[in-house]
């Protein structure tokens, strides 16, 4: 296992290629740009294609076409670019295509966008929020595998810190069982056979007029309901006996975890919970972790987004308070003063005060 010093963007791109990603299209925008740069540098030599798309809208369209032929394909951007991609993301989900999206956000303000989706209609896509480069390498490969198994887009929610921090990682292939033949793919080979295919989001079939949206979309709903059961992932520490449970996701969770461990070492009864999947949110696990705690503190770098999902999980069994907030650097890229271990520890301690119960 050779570990190399790789920035998050590069490690994730290498992981994607290990997973068999053969097509990428993207448009530069901070902090996603390096993902495009690394794909542009590495994909052609590996027999794949990277197109410098002229807009985010066209980037996701190109990935869509590649996916439809059965290839593993990806795209990505940051929040503003993802905003442009929403119609296509909804349709790609409803066409049951396995797109992987590198959502490299400017901080954590895209939580709603990633988990609720800004596209039309009923659709869901799992969102993985890696805490560090090592986890990002694993989750990237997991995303490609599960996207094919479920025939659904998977989103990787990263940020400026993850993209641009270099860590020592071993980018090794994740062992996954083989996936079935993609008989649904429009490869051109069934043209003229009487059994040609139509990759679409409306339930259109050959030889029959009209569309069948209700039955088709209800089947998709059932699939998403099943994904919500099988796919939640989380990380938790010291939740059995805590007066304060701190909930955080992504890069910021690394600071929360560090603060909780320090405070625990100093005798405070603090616990830590990190959703790894932002959708499906690990509701049951969080509800269980929050049992017995006096207060839940949500540390997120935005105006309050994940806190809604936390409140739904906790369902009033303990008060839920925000201890994060909007925080950014002067360029607006999300590298704000909140990303600081002392700052975070102070906020956690502050939330801890007043929760200690009489023995």
């Amino acid at each position: 296992m050779t570990r190399r010093l790789l920035e998050g963007s590069e490690a994730m791109v290498e992981a994607a290629m290990l997973a068999g990603c053969r097509f990428f299209a993207g448009y530069p925008m901070t902090p996603f740009t390096e993902v495009l740069e690394h794909f542009a540098a590495k994909l052609p030599a590996a027999g794949g294609t990277c197109v410098n798309a002229e807009s985010e809208l066209e980037a996701i369209g190109m990935a869509w076409g590649a996916l439809a032929t059965g290839a593993r394909a990806a795209t990505g951007s940051t929040g503003q670019g993802l905003a442009l991609m929403q119609e296509s993301l909804s349709e790609i989900t409803r066409a049951e295509l396995p797109l992987v999206v590198f959502h490299m956000a400017r901080g954590q303000g895209d939580y709603f966008q990633a988990t609720r989706g800004g596209g039309h209609g009923d659709y869901r896509h799992p969102v993985y929020a890696p805490v560090d480069v090592g986890e990002a390498v694993e989750l990237t490969q997991q995303a490609f595998d599960l996207a094919d198994r479920w025939r659904n887009p998977f989103v990787l929610y990263g940020d400026y810190l993850l993209a641009h921090t270099a860590e020592a990682v071993a980018v090794e292939p994740l062992a996954c069982p083989p996936i079935p033949e993609k008989e649904w793919a429009a490869t051109g080979t069934l043209s003229g056979s009487g059994r040609s295919r139509n990759v679409n989001s409306l339930g259109m079939t050959k030889g029959r007029k009209g569309i069948e949206p209700e039955a088709f979309w209800q089947r998709l709903q059932a699939k998403h309901d099943q994904m919500a059961v099988e796919l939640p992932r989380f990380e938790a520490e010291s939740t059995d006996d805590c007066d304060l449970l701190v909930v955080a996701f992504g890069s910021l969770a690394r600071f929360a975890r560090h603060a909780v461990r320090e405070l625990r070492r100093d005798g405070a009864r603090v616990g830590y919970f990190r959703p790894v999947t932002l959708w499906p949110f690990p509701t049951e696990a969080l509800a269980a972790a929050a049992q017995g705690t006096a207060r839940v503190a949500v540390l997120e770098q935005n105006g309050g987004q994940m806190i809604d999902d936390v409140k739904l999980a906790v369902l009033g069994s303990a008060p839920v308070v925000p201890i994060g907030g909007i925080s950014s650097d002067e360029a607006g890229f999300g590298m704000g003063p909140l990303l600081d271990p002392v700052n975070v520890r102070t906020r956690v301690s502050g939330a801890l005060a007043g929760t200690e119960r009489a023995a």
């Binding site: 053969r22 097509f23 299209a25 294609t49 197109v51 798309a53 002229e54 807009s55 809208l57 066209e58 980037a59 996701i60 369209g61 190109m62 990935a63 869509w64 076409g65 590649a66 996916l67 439809a68 032929t69 059965g70 290839a71 394909a73 119609e87 296509s88 349709e91 066409a95 429009a186 490869t187 051109g188 080979t189 069934l190 043209s191 003229g192 056979s193 009487g194 040609s196 295919r197 139509n198 990759v199 679409n200 989001s201 409306l202 259109m204 079939t205 050959k206 030889g207 029959r208 007029k209 009209g210």
Partner: protein, 277 residues
């Protein structure tokens, strides 16, 4: 003439004869569709499917379909298809062709789809010289929503949202997308055909074949615009559709070959339609 002279046409002839034309092209699964009487789009579908067969790609082609009335024809097409969003087909075609470079790749889009919603998509795809053929069914309206103005609607044309006729001052001017595409170095073949009578259909058959041959040669992007009748959208009786097409639409969107063998001929310099050389 008396009705005695009407000949029987409910079965093939008993007298020795050879069939020179079938109901359906090989790649068409049926004839049942609900498009309007006199619609030009199914006419274009026939010659498109015939052209795919003519260039030897009946068992090796992929179509990316836009959103419009013609979308309803997809159940009849025995071609592997991908359904795109309004305007987006050229991007999907790009990704598909990059993964399947040996497969004939075409898009099928209406004017609202390609020239309104998807203008940048088709321009960029052409500029990149993607080895795909984008096919435009141009009837000067958004047919599927009931007949509304698009970027190709001609000045004076009545539509549901230009009931007094398109006014250049208020609604602007139509776009001749073929000219925009033909000027790009990535475009190796561009032509504008029509289906208002048998000779125009025959000329458009040639255009489709040449476009597909350009793609298969690997030279770059190819484009065929096909003017189609939409009597419903044009507020004209069905039988007047072909005349409206050739005279009203066709006087602005003049038919002919815009780019061939490196030569760009803008619309205003096109010769009158005649048998293609």
């Amino acid at each position: 003439m008396s009705s005695d002279e009407v000949l029987s046409t409910d079965a093939p002839p008993e007298r020795a004869a050879r069939k020179t034309g079938s109901f359906l092209p090989r790649l068409q699964l049926g004839a049942d569709h609900d498009l309007c009487p006199g619609c030009g789009e199914p006419v274009a579908l026939r010659i498109l499917l015939e052209a795919i067969e003519a260039v030897g790609c009946a068992e090796n082609s992929i179509g990316v379909i836009g959103i419009g009335c013609y979308t309803a024809l997809t159940p009849l097409m025995d071609v592997d298809l991908v359904q795109a969003l309004h305007g987006r087909a050229p991007s999907l075609a790009t990704g598909a062709k990059r993964m399947k470079p040996e497969t004939l790749l075409f898009t099928l889009q209406g004017d609202g789809d390609m020239v309104n919603e998807g203008l940048q998509e088709v321009l960029h795809t052409a500029a990149r010289g993607e080895r795909v053929t984008c096919i435009l069914l141009n009837n000067g309206v958004f047919g599927e929503t009931g007949g509304h103005m698009t970027s190709t609607t001609v000045i004076g044309q009545r539509t549901k949202n230009t009931l007094e006729g398109r006014d250049a001052n208020y609604h602007g001017h139509p776009i001749l997308i073929g000219d925009l595409l033909a000027q790009l170095d990535g475009t190796v073949y561009a032509a504008r055909g029509a289906v208002y009578d048998a000779p125009s259909v025959a000329r458009t058959q040639v255009m489709l074949r040449r476009a597909f041959e350009a793609q298969l040669s690997g030279a770059g992007f190819s484009f065929v615009e096909i003017l189609t009748m939409c009597p419903t959208g044009w507020f004209v009786p069905t039988a007047e559709g072909p005349d409206y097409l050739s005279k009203v639409m066709g006087s602005v969107h003049v038919t002919g070959e815009l780019k061939r063998d490196g030569q760009f001929t803008p619309t205003r310099e096109l010769p009158p339609p005649e048998a293609l050389g």
